[in-house]
């Protein structure tokens, strides 16, 4: 049947994570540091609000852009979170998570052959979504030694006349790296000079451990050329609700809304109701969760150092990305052997781009007991294999 399939789709490689997932799912007694979501259930007051709204029979479509009350809450939240004001009327679109928002943005902006600059290692969806929109993804290497910040010289080096979009996925999945004020400031002139649009994926922006997240949209001249994307999955432990949003210039939001209205209609109303409650009353609980990730971040870093794995200190998200150079293995071999011999699941770094090879992603949204046990098992593994 392959002859019927689109060449574009056929050319996209299957996700490296999928293959590894199948392996893990077949193994018994696994401690997994391979997940990509919080280990908390959605705070009860949020879930309860959604239940109540269902009981009241609120089961209909909403406006394409999302419930007006939700957009108002998002506008107020973005103002206090990143200090940028958006009009709820025409500058905010509620989506099915940030993944949909990225898809809408690239489809709304790209002509065939336009180039999209994507720092790597990074989340698995950006490049395929660009390819599906007939754009050309251009990976920008980022390095362990730079704590995976995007360097201005690297950005400049990869810009061509066809470059149109820069994706800024910080705090980063999989590395936990962030871009602080100075790091971003160093990019602003280059972005403006080359007339780029920025997709700023800020889904982990509440999960920062040394001061507040800074958004590129807050720099002079950047607001209208940036599409800020965020959602409820990580900060409010709402992955399964599938609610995210995009904020940006009204013409861009209108173009994205055009695609969204034909393919999705609207995000599910129960998720939107839950999201309103999260923004109105969820921040205290969110801060408690962030504190808890921070404790576990320190425990896993101390543990990794103890078994000799070199890792820079990640300042955001809930991942760390240690080097496995001392094992002499590549990421996939390391992860498969570790799973097979010690029943610990971590994700091979090359699943997030080829320059992630030689690293593994460990998620510390796991219980302290499981983190400690996983580290102990990894220690046994390394004692057997380091330098062999």
């Amino acid at each position: 049947m392959n002859r019927f399939l689109s060449k574009t789709v056929q050319a996209i490689p299957p996700s490296g994570i999928r293959k590894f997932f199948d392996l893990v799912a077949q193994t018994e007694g696994v401690i997994s540091l391979g997940v990509g979501e919080p280990d908390f259930a959605t705070p009860w007051h949020i879930t309860e609000t959604a239940c109540y709204s269902l009981e009241k029979g609120e089961t209909m479509y909403t406006s394409n852009q999302g419930l007006p009350e939700l957009r108002e809450e998002i506008a107020a939240y973005q103002k206090r979170h990143i200090g940028v004001e958006y009009s709820p009327g025409d500058e905010i679109l509620v989506t099915i998570g940030v993944s949909e928002a990225v898809d809408l943005a690239v489809r709304a902006l790209l002509e065939p052959g336009d180039e999209v600059l994507v720092p790597e290692p990074s989340y698995v969806s950006y490049c395929p979504e660009v390819t599906l929109a007939y754009g050309t993804p251009v990976p920008l290497p980022t390095y362990h030694g730079d704590q995976y910040r995007l360097r201005p010289d690297v950005l400049e080096k990869y810009i061509t006349p066809k470059s149109k979009i820069l994706v800024l996925p910080y705090p980063s999945n999989p590395t936990g790296g962030i871009m602080n004020y100075d790091d971003l400031k160093a990019l602003v002139d280059i972005i403006i000079k080359n007339d780029l649009i920025v997709i700023s994926d800020e889904i982990y922006s509440e999960l920062t451990y040394y001061g507040k997240h800074v958004s590129i949209a807050s720099f002079p001249g950047m607001r209208d050329r940036t599409i800020v994307m965020n959602g409820f999955s990580k900060a409010f432990a709402m992955t399964g609700w599938r609610v995210g949003y995009a904020c940006g210039h009204p013409e861009i939001i209108a173009a994205m809304t055009k695609i969204h209205q034909y393919m999705i209609m609207c995000a599910p109303i129960m998720g939107q109701k839950a999201a309103i409650e999260a923004l109105r009353h969820g921040e205290e609980e969110m801060r408690r969760m962030v504190d808890s990730y921070n404790y576990r971040r320190k425990i896993i870093l101390s543990g990794l150092a103890g078994i000799g794995l070199d890792c820079f200190e990640p300042q955001g998200a809930f991942y760390c990305f240690p080097s496995i150079a001392i094992s002499g293995m590549n990421s996939e071999v390391f992860c498969e052997k570790l799973l097979h011999e010690e029943q610990v699941a971590v994700v091979p770094g090359n699943a997030f781009g080829s320059n992630g090879d030689g690293f593994i992603r460990c998620c510390y949204a796991a219980s302290i007991g499981n983190i400690e046990q996983a580290i102990e098992r990894m220690g046994h593994f390394l004692r057997r294999h380091a330098y062999d």
Binding site: G34, V35, K298, I299
Partner: protein
């Protein structure tokens, strides 16, 4: 939040956390954490370390009662002396002064209802200033000091996800 409070919040949730683990979590050195905990114990901010046990799960059929006690307060000491006096009985788990229609809430455990009946008729009611009691037996526990007696939530997340 200051360091002392952070330590107390962590221990309140998990008294088995070692000073070493707390030191890692709070970016401190172990000796400093040990010193603070020792000070808090000495100041009786930390009164002790106990374990939350679901005795029902073992089929133990001990009985717990909450007793509302009406007491005549006394000049100068109010309720303090009588509350402390009630608290000296080892079967008493807690004593609190309440707002509302009665004065002291006393939680008592015993092997069976007769045990508790005996405590009330022989010990509690005979105290001079106790004017009356109402006893409520606990039938089933659902949550205690922040810990739910429900089955723990299973981790249903995908084992590996992007």
């Amino acid at each position: 939040m200051d360091l002392t409070k952070k330590i107390l919040h962590l221990l309140e949730r998990d008294a088995k956390l070692s000073p070493k683990a707390i030191a890692v979590m709070l970016d401190q050195d172990e000796a400093a954490i040990e010193a603070i905990i020792a000070r808090l114990e000495k100041q009786r901010v930390i009164l002790g370390y106990s374990t939350i046990i679901n005795w029902d799960a073992l089929g133990e059929n001990g009985v717990t009662a909450m007793i509302d006690v009406k007491v005549a307060p006394e000049r100068e000491v109010g309720f303090n002396d009588i509350a402390e006096r009630i608290g000296r009985y080892p079967e008493v788990q807690s004593v609190s002064l309440m707002s509302g229609t009665y004065d002291l809430s006393v939680v008592v455990t015993g092997k069976n209802m007769q045990d508790i009946a005996g405590f009330i008729s022989h010990k509690l009611s005979t105290l001079d200033r106790v004017q009356g009691t109402t006893t409520h037996f606990i039938l089933k526990r659902y949550k205690q000091v922040g810990f739910s007696f429900e089955e723990p939530r299973e981790d249903k997340r995908l084992v590996v996800s992007p």
